[in-house]
Point group: C2
Chain length 471, copies 2
Amino acid sequence: MKEEKPEGITVKKEKDFSEWYQQVVLKGGLAEYSAVKGCMIIKPLGYAIWENIQAYFNARLKELKVQNVYFPLFIPESFFRKEAEHAAGFKPEVAWGESEGERLAIRPTSETIMYDAFAKWIRSWRDLPLRINQWCNIVRWETKATRLFLRTREFLWHEGHCVYATEKECEAETLLYLKEYQKLCEEQLAIPVLPGKKTESEKFAGAVYTLSVEGLMPDGRILQLGTSHNLGQGFANAFGIGFLGRDGKKQTPWQNSWGFSTRLIGAIAMMHGDDKGLVLPPMIAPQQICIIPIFFKENKAEILKKAREVAKTLQKFRTLLDESEDYTPGWKFNEYELRGVPLRIEIGPKDIKQKQVVLVRRDTGKKEIVKERDLAKRTEQILADIQKSLYNKAKKFLNSSIVEAKNFREVERAIKEKKIALANWCGSNCEEKVKQLAAKSINMPLSQNTKGTCALCGKAARFKVYLAKSY
Amino acid sequence: MKEEKPEGITVKKEKDFSEWYQQVVLKGGLAEYSAVKGCMIIKPLGYAIWENIQAYFNARLKELKVQNVYFPLFIPESFFRKEAEHAAGFKPEVAWGESEGERLAIRPTSETIMYDAFAKWIRSWRDLPLRINQWCNIVRWETKATRLFLRTREFLWHEGHCVYATEKECEAETLLYLKEYQKLCEEQLAIPVLPGKKTESEKFAGAVYTLSVEGLMPDGRILQLGTSHNLGQGFANAFGIGFLGRDGKKQTPWQNSWGFSTRLIGAIAMMHGDDKGLVLPPMIAPQQICIIPIFFKENKAEILKKAREVAKTLQKFRTLLDESEDYTPGWKFNEYELRGVPLRIEIGPKDIKQKQVVLVRRDTGKKEIVKERDLAKRTEQILADIQKSLYNKAKKFLNSSIVEAKNFREVERAIKEKKIALANWCGSNCEEKVKQLAAKSINMPLSQNTKGTCALCGKAARFKVYLAKSY
């Protein structure tokens, strides 16, 4: 038996957040860097979280009548040029290949290659709305420093692309998908978000407007978690997408696109992890429960038998029974704590005699002795409570971090204190001033009723806007 | 209401197989060519079949303790060079990018990038066996003519990669995964296969040996459907993968890799389709049943109500109720036939009065009137029977196509007659002679007990081998 502990986290989350994050991702077994600069390897635990997110979201997509497809990785350069703003926005980070004379972009996003096909697929109002999604890899040749899950040259994502007969439908569903992202983040990942509209300078290249959900990470920086773009008719015009209306006349449709990426996995690690490692919300934890039998040679058979019974009792949960004799129970405790398993169940000789087991919550570390007959019910309650507690803690942190700021000095103070400034803004390029503070405009709350003066330049305000440091 | 029929298949499968296949894939809605030469777009129906294959196979992987991961798309050129045979084998078809001085291959397969990481992951016998899989896109810059699903420059696949402490385990599991492929093809896709071992000249670049499952397509050509490679210790040596054994000594492990691709979707279309379009095996059909209510204005409410009841009765199946008024029932019949839905249910005014529905099988076109009370049971029987019938028909075709060939003349005759020649072979490069017939060695049956003389050169035979034309 291996006696030593697995290599734990050696820095405090409070002290050195950046190093702590790196260690939690590496030692928790989520991902690691590969031999190719800026590209990551998503390891089994990280990928299993992604699969759970996919399973949840695919079920939602089905209900929303969105169909999955797969489009080519390569996009002809000429397609990129068709929508001018889009081309300009993505130019710096496209990786290129070449074939038979034309440069081929390695997809940084798929609007152009998809919409070339949509122009052929759509003939009449009968073909609308068209709702398409793909799960795929994306390449953006970042020049900034990369960080696992948060900024890498390749990542995985989903991208939804819809075409509508009317502007109204397009507007409504652009918001609908944002609300789906909010639900995913809050109910599944236990991460509260700020839904809002991006300012003009921060919107997607080629969009009329961009909606986003943004999460506040424990270091006071905002992480963008999902975006939904109303593309208007710009791409439809550029790619010649038209349809015959019910009135027999040729019309131009409206479009949106929307996506989130494996960055969500990084957000989960940052948000809930602690000095012992990952803490995974039960809803998306690949293993919700680990059962650790504590045995010696003389009682091994008896204890394993009981452990298997307990595993069977709990089979409706994602339960792992670790029967291995290669590692000590103590080693296993540490290992599953590092990996963030929400609930640990210990079963030793004393427990068998007393028809009980010991439950240990990962989030609080609290121990609880539960009678076998109550186990299934109590487990369900505890897992639900962990999910709720993680969310409530993060929500409290978010709420306490939003500070109303009436002028630039107050904006500055908020940002220095690692808070989010909620400020009045006139809508002009005075927004640029925030960059002096190494911060930026995050988004503007969805419901707006703004009066007063701009916190940045003193003119009449038109919007409320969140200003903060960001990833 | 749109009165005309959807554009159907305009050639006979018997007459022009190649054109028929293209039309079935395009008009059935599986896939189409994209603007990038040799790259395809997998459309909703094609992708949904892939998702069903993935769901089935992921469940098997879980039982076999294989873990999913994601490795980078880009592979440093230096990695490719490490295993000499592997490098030579893949060189002609690798697409390259470049970054910071080193050429980066766009993955044609992931052995090298994965095994560089495995060398760090594996320390001792405790870490073995390591069983890893990824679902991803693959790029091979084909210069031959491309065909949808069968040969494209980009495709989707899964690749399993395992590392074992002993040669025996490696051998056993290389075969185990092949058997899984056989099960997938035969039980899910209703495609009987020939499992066997590739000859030396046909094995994977870098393998000790390659096992394969091969399907006979209706035009008499063999399509390789999955491969499992015993890699021996070659890659482990090249990438420095070692482990500390239970005896405390440093050892070199054994490895295998195995995969199948979206080519399977093309095989389904080829094998089961007919002159009306696709015929999908119920086990992997995205829609197993389509319900077509036949109504006019005056009885619409009544008939839709019944159709919804029927849909509810059949909810354990993947059932589609088409309530649309934009197309006539006749149009819908043709459309769902094109798309291969295994079973159609028609509900009209007469059926309601008589508490019955009309079932129409896609494979045989046979109509059957079924009382409502028997519907769920009868549907289950018919779907099972369709699955079995498709397999049996294909199996009969395969069996009747295998011809024992004792000499080159008999090999030649078999191949001219679009059959598979089962021939004795000495194991030498006389295998080359088959190329004169535009055919090649497919694989060698797994159990061998060969006597007699080589059909190709007359020397003493060592193996039985399948010879045929192939894709």
